[in-house]
Each structure stands twice: as C-alpha cells, then as structure tokens.
C-alpha cells in the first residue's frame, strides 16, 4: 500500500461567524494526482493555505510526510512545491532570474541549481523567453513561469491551486500534460480546480468540497457509482401526449422524465439497453423524433446530485 503523504484530520477554520473548513479530513497517498473539486468559496484554497502552514486554524491536525506540519518545519517545506492561484513573480526579474531566485530558496548548490533551473525552463517550454520580463509574457506563458518557479527544485509534493485560471487552451493543455509528467516522475500532486474537465482528465482520486466539508471522495468511477443517475437520454421530439409521457416514466430503470422546448430528457438509474427500449417504444407509438443523445454522468452531475447546485454557481 502506498505511503500517506498528506493527512488532514478534522480541520476546522473559522472566519468569525463563517466556517470555512468544517471538520475536514483527508488522506493523500504517494504517487496520486489528487483533485480538490469545489465551487468558489468551498474551502479549497483555505485547505491549501492551512496545509502550507500559512493560515492558522481552530482545530485539527495536519501531517505531511509523516511529520506534523508547522511554519518552522523546514524539512517538510523543502519537499513541497507550491503554485498559487495568482501569479507570484518579480516584475523586475527576467523569466530565468525569477526561476533561479525561487529555486535558490530551496537549493543552495549553485551548479545543481543551474541544472534545475534549465530543466524547469525546458519543462514549461519557456526556452525562448528566458530573458523576457514577466510583463512581456502572455497570460498563458506567465502561468507557465509561475509553475516553473514552484517546481524547479524538484519537490516530492506539488500543490497547484487553480493554475489554469484565465489560460488559453494551448497553455492549459501544456500545463495539464506537465502535471501528469511530474506525477510520472514521482511527485505526488494536489490539484484544486473548479474546472471538472481538468480534474476528470488528470486526477486519480477526487474529493468534492462544499461549504468547507468533504461531501464525496473517491476515483471518478467510484464517485459516479455513488450517483442515482447512470445515464440520461435526450430526444428531440415533435409531439408527445401526456399519456405517452406517463408510459415513458413507467419504462424499466427510468426515474425522471422532463419535456422542455421539444427536448425529452429521460434519466435512468442503472440497467442495460435503455436506449433500445426507449426507441422501440417511440416507434411503436409512431412518435416522430429528431436527434437522440445518450450521456453518461459527469463530475458536474455528481456535484449537482450531492450539493443540489452547479459546480460553477
């Protein structure tokens, strides 16, 4: 069994009346790309700041690499790389100098540092921009620089707090591929986002947060299995009577039927050949229809079912 890298036990963080983290517990294992998924204000960044010992908390304990985390635990800190939500670089230093500066806070040996910085530049694909100042970089390139500053020292645990906000698709793909590559090289990754597609794409395990609580935890398959909804079939329909709608509701495994603006949405909880059964019924009843879609549940559906609201609400 993989070793525990991060252990959060019953963490509570209050801002006066507001409870930002409500007995939040979590265990992250070595080699995982762990996704913290939740809407804005759900407590993702608060969790990260507590993990890094930047933020005080009211209750609970945090262990990283088997050691109690504290602001002066430099041994643990030296193994962590952090990429914050907002870009944190010096405007007056070039791309190369910025990476060198932050790497230098972790690596004292000059020759080794140079090697690490060169590798980080290559890793994020900024070879052509090493002498550029941050203000001359596009949003995507700036994000890549931000990542390079956080991972140049080859940390064993990398924490990325929404690193793809306001990033172009090309840079986003580059960043996501890079995170997977870092993971393949042995780093454990904690990735927070409110982009479910990203989390679905790269995370091996996911915790869904809402109002400072972990409301669901598991692999994406495990999370989807926890849902009532297993399939949604949408049919563009010309005309259907109330009686016929009731018939559809009575089909096997159907638990919800809605008709809005000519789109019939039929939700199923389990079962096989649901599409075939529905098509057969429509043909038997001579109901004319257009396009037909069959959709498996997404993490957004998972989130919707657990919280009753959309992920980006």
């Amino acid at each position: 069994m993989a070793q525990t890298v991060v252990k959060i036990d019953s963490l509570v963080k209050r801002y006066k009346e507001l409870i930002a983290l409500d007995h939040f517990s979590l265990e992250i294992f070595e080699g995982e790309v762990f996704g913290l998924l939740g809407p804005n204000g759900s407590g993702k960044t608060t969790t990260i700041n507590c993990l890094l010992s930047l933020l005080s908390f009211d209750k609970g304990e945090i262990e990283i690499f088997g050691q109690k985390m504290s602001p002066s635990n430099y041994d643990v800190k030296s193994k962590i790389g952090v990429i914050m939500q907002n870009v944190a670089v010096f405007d007056e230093l070039t791309v190369y100098e910025n990476i060198d500066y932050f790497c230098g806070l972790y690596v004292k040996d000059k020759a080794l540092r140079k090697q690490y910085v060169d590798e980080a530049v290559k890793f994020v694909g900024l070879e052509e921009f090493t002498k550029f100042y941050p203000k001359k970089l596009s949003g995507g390139l700036l994000r890549r620089l931000n990542i390079a500053c956080g991972i140049a020292h080859k940390p064993k645990l990398i924490i990325l707090d929404e690193p793809t906000v306001a990033v172009d698709p090309q840079s986003r793909n580059k960043i996501l591929e890079g995170i997977q590559q870092l993971n393949r090289q042995g780093a454990t990754v904690i990735y927070t986002s409110h982009y479910m597609e990203e989390v679905e794409q790269i995370c091996t395990r996911i915790a869904i947060m809402d109002k400072g609580k972990c409301i669901a935890l598991g692999t994406k398959e495990e999370l989807k299995k926890q849902m009532k909804n297993t399939e949604t079939i949408t049919v563009e329909i010309m005309d259907i009577s109330d009686t016929q709608l009731d018939d559809v509701r009575r089909l096997t495994h159907v638990y919800e039927v809605t008709l809005e603006e000519g789109r019939l949405a039929v939700k199923y909880s389990g079962g096989k050949h649901n599409l075939l059964r529905l098509m057969t019924y429509l043909q038997e009843q001579d109901i004319r229809f257009g396009r037909v879609y069959s959709e498996l549940p997404t993490l957004n559906d998972v989130f919707l079912e657990f919280t009753g609201k959309q992920l980006r609400d």
Binding site: Y15, N49, L52, S53, L54, L55, S56, S70, P71, S72, Y74, D75, K77, S78, I80, V82, M84, N86, V87, A88, V89, F90, D91, E92, L93, E97, Y101, F102, G104, L105, Y106, K108, C149, G150
Partner: protein, 377 residues
C-alpha cells in the same frame, strides 16, 4: 542564501523605474538642481553682510564724529558706505529706498529713516552708542581731565569684548538648510524600500510573500538580506546626490564629505526601518500603505523645514520634543550642527537618536515578520 537574496534584491530594485526615479533622479537631478537655481546665489546677493548705505548731512561740524564715521567706513568689512553728503539728494535717495538712512552730523548726531528694519536698527544702535560715549568723554573732561586716558581705555576694552567668533568652519549661508533638508528627504524616502521588503515577506500582503513563506527559509534571514540590499542602494543614491552637490553644483555644504555620507547612511537606515515597521502593520495593500507613508514622510520633512525654512525653529519653540524624535529634523540637525558647531555632542546626540529609532523600528518589523501563521490571507 543571504547573498542570493541580497543579489536579487539589488537587481530587482535597480530595474524598478519608480524606485530609481525617487531614489536617484528626483532628489539628485531635479530637486538639487532646482534648489541650486533658486537659492544658489541668494545668500551672496541678499543675506551676506554688506556695508550699509547711508547719507551723512552736516548740520554742524563735529570732528569727533567725523573721525568715528571715517573709521567705520574703512577696512575690509566697512560698516557704512556714505553715498552722498548732499541733503536734497539724500532725501530723494531715502525716499527711493536707495539708502537706509540719513545721519545728520551735529553736536548730537541724529538719524532719519524711512522704514523699520535690521539695517536701520544697526544705524540707530551705532548712533546711540556714539552719543552715550561722547557724553561720557565730555563729562569726564569737565570733571577730571586726568581720568580721560583711563576712560578711553575702558571704552576700547568694552569694544574689544564684542568680537566675531566663528563657531565652525562651515557655511553660514542660511539657504544651505534647504540642501540639508533635501538630503534628509532623500534618506527618508528609503521607506519605500522597507515597505517593499516587508510586503514581499508577508503572506498576507502579497503573492510573493505567500511563496516566500512556503519556502524553507527563515523569515528574518530573507528580511535582513533584503534590507541590506536596499540599504546599499539607498546609500548609493545619497552618495550620488552628495557628490553631485559638491562637485557638479559646486555647493559649499559646510560639512565634510565623509561626515555627510555618515549622516545620509544613518538617515537611510532610519528611512528603511520606517517603511519596514509601519508597512508590517495591518492588512492594507502596498499602494494604500505607500500613500499613507508618503504623506507622513512629507509631513515630517515639512516640519523639519523642507518647504518653509524656519519651520524647525518654530517647532523648537512650540514643541521641542518633536524635533528630538522627528527623523527628518534629526538628519537636518546633524548637518546643521556639524556645519555650525563642528562635530560635537549635539551631532552625536542626533546620530545616536537616529540609530536608536532605526534599531527600535527594525526590531519591531522583525517581530511583525516573525508571525508564524496568519489568521486570514
């Protein structure tokens, strides 16, 4: 680690246009040159002691008075310059303010002036003194002429008791204090550096602060390295200004260059520590704190006489304690005392007070930066 942070602190500050402007260009090129243009020759033309222009109109012959007037109008630094002896012309000159007054030579000389002022007072004092002495001599001659030589001796001794004493080898140009204030302001504007250091070192004040706090580095080490780098740059700015004043503008500062550099070094330390300490209080952003601190520093400079020359003297009368703790006034007073009295107890008191202010504020800033975790970010 220290040298790594120190190097990048200097590099980033040197490339910061705003810092370079306020540190090097504004005080040196703009203000110093402006002050030189405005005040450079003002002292020579208006304030330096020059012979007082008077007219002497003879109403009645007085050979004693003639002799005295002759003696005070001679020499390298004559007290009076007699412009005319014609009464009608004298009255016109007095009316046009081309002369200070008309001295009427008579048995008892008297004076006519058109206005009040220091120079008019000097002429009146001179005449009063002459009349008293003339009366003493005449009385003595009438009572006991044998005592005249002794009386004249005592009058000479009295005169010799009042002599010009140079307090230092400095420059007695009253406008030189504007240049002292300029150097004080430049030193204190180093607060910007202290503010930047604390902002970049605190997780609740900047994103760079978060990253720095997440790194395995002691906060006091990063702060000290940053402060050292900024002190080097601030001092370099002061060195440039001092050299510019002395060698380019040919300004006689009245204080030797090493002493000026010592004062500006200590002043820069005080300035940086002000920004470092006050920048660490509260969660307000850099821009807001910068605005508040700029206003405070400008107020301190104003109260030390940067805008109104005699303001420090006014404060000395109204609230002398404030001049003892106002860094701008202390820096200015360092220059002033070194120029006027030489390096002495007053100078050392000022310097030590500045060092104490620096030590207290830096220690306070360090305590603020040592905070382990933040309540909110």
């Amino acid at each position: 680690m220290f040298l790594h942070i120190f190097k990048y602190q200097i590099l980033s500050s040197l490339r910061n246009k705003q810092t370079v402007f306020w540190r090097f260009i504004f005080p040196t090129v703009i203000l110093a040159t402006l002050f030189q243009v405005a005040f450079g020759s003002l002292f020579e033309t208006t304030e330096k002691m020059q012979a007082i222009k008077v007219a002497v109109v003879c109403e009645q012959k007085n050979i004693f008075f003639d002799e005295v007037m002759k003696s005070v109008c001679e020499g390298d630094e004559p007290l009076f310059e007699i412009v005319t002896e014609d009464e009608e012309k004298a009255e016109k000159l007095l009316h046009d303010a081309d002369i200070v007054g008309i001295i009427y030579c008579a048995k008892e000389p008297h004076l006519a002036v058109a206005s009040e002022g220091t120079r008019q007072s000097i002429v009146k004092f001179f005449l009063d003194q002459y009349i008293i002495n003339q009366q003493l001599v005449m009385d003595a001659a009438e009572r006991d002429p044998s005592q005249l030589p002794a009386l004249i001796d005592s009058m000479q001794n009295e005169t010799n008791a009042v002599y010009t004493r140079s307090l230092g080898k400095g420059n007695n140009d009253a406008y030189i204090q504007y240049f002292y204030n300029l150097l004080a302001m430049q030193a204190l504007f180093s607060y910007l550096s202290g503010l930047a250091i604390i902002t970049n070192g605190q997780a609740n004040l900047s994103e760079i602060g978060k990253r720095t706090n997440a790194a395995p580095v002691r906060k006091c080490l990063t702060a000290l390295a940053g402060l050292s780098g900024e002190l080097v740059l601030s001092f370099a700015g002061s060195v440039i200004t001092v050299l510019y004043l002395v060698f380019v503008l040919k300004k006689d500062m009245g204080v030797s260059i090493p002493v000026m550099l010592l004062i500006t070094l200590v002043g820069s330390m005080a300035g940086i520590s002000i920004g470092f300490f006050f920048g660490g209080i509260g969660n307000a952003g850099y821009d807001k704190k910068n605005g508040i601190l700029t206003a405070i520093i400008m107020a301190l400079c104003f109260l030390s006489g940067l805008m109104i020359g005699n303001m420090r003297a006014v404060i000395e009368v109204k609230a002398p304690w404030f001049n003892r703790i106002n860094p701008a006034a202390l820096i200015t007073d360092c220059f002033y005392s070194a120029n006027t009295y030489g390096i002495g107890s007053r100078f050392y008191t000022d310097i030590l007070t500045l060092v104490c202010i620096t030590a207290i504020l830096t220690a306070g800033g360090m305590i603020l930066t040592r905070r382990q975790r933040y309540a909110s970010l």
